[in-house]
Symmetry: C2
Amino acid sequence: MKPPVIFYFDFSSPYSYIANEWLGALAARHGRRVQHQAILLGATFQVAELKSPVSYPLKREYSLRDFERSARFEGLPYALPPVFPIPTQNAARVFWWLSETRGEQAAAAWATAGLRALFTAGVPLNEPDALKALALRSGLDGSECERVWNDPQWKARLKRANDEAIGAGVFGAPFIVIDGEPFWGNDRRPQIERWLAQGPF
Amino acid sequence: MKPPVIFYFDFSSPYSYIANEWLGALAARHGRRVQHQAILLGATFQVAELKSPVSYPLKREYSLRDFERSARFEGLPYALPPVFPIPTQNAARVFWWLSETRGEQAAAAWATAGLRALFTAGVPLNEPDALKALALRSGLDGSECERVWNDPQWKARLKRANDEAIGAGVFGAPFIVIDGEPFWGNDRRPQIERWLAQGPF
């Protein structure tokens, strides 16, 4: 088995939602699995002195349009959430709890459920009741998830993930690393396809 | 003839260099011409509260690597100029002088000559002697070009181009507008290809 494709994402990143929909099948076609890594863009933005693309004049209007168009380009449903961006630390802590107690696949399924819920149905992942309901629909125990996201152990696990991502040079999302080569953004798909098919170019 | 593809670029933008190499032939295959618009990213960055990608921690290292990889992906020669980024107002003023006195094609040829000189041979377009020598190699009169870039008329013409670009929502380069639809970045090539082939999607 070749090394996994590492996929850094934030639950509140539209381009992460889009990339998550095509990356798994693409990686599998090339004998790779995807290793999800939930992070908080707030942490990487601070170190990189960046902000959300919707926080800049001019770029905001373009980005809102491009989120939608990029989803349509991939044939995906998409709707801008009523509140955007939102803080996603609770969803991310549940991700790391799943990753460490039930394995990568359970965590990846939660990542996909959260991204789809936010970007197709506007589910406010930052609201405890909405997140507990999503956990329930995902076959998890909502109250257990709430204990997890309030637990210092899982808060610390997420912080470590952020620190390690920053140490690896991550400054945005999605941020995809293959064989040590970094690719930032859903729009690096053509380069990722070539790398997976041919190796370094 | 269909409406032209509008191509906003800065002479100091590596992704503009790359996009300029594929856009002309692509547009021609779909019955369009490319209308180049030289701008200064310094002006758009100020309004959009942005900086060059190489001015941010973490993003700098990634961007330098991605410039090279994105050029290789398109099969293009590329070398990071010894000084980067550089101020390019003189080259841009010559562009607008050519555009208004000799036509779009002469200006487009100068755009291509300047981008290639900077990003394949490291020619410092900000240095008057190097720019005059480039003008000579491009079939222009170096001294005449120097008079142009010191002429308030052409300074004002470039300023108007910057103001109009900002008014059109341009915040980076390359910024490509087709049928009123904005596409930011060399990496929007797949979406541009689909738009040109099929229209709105």
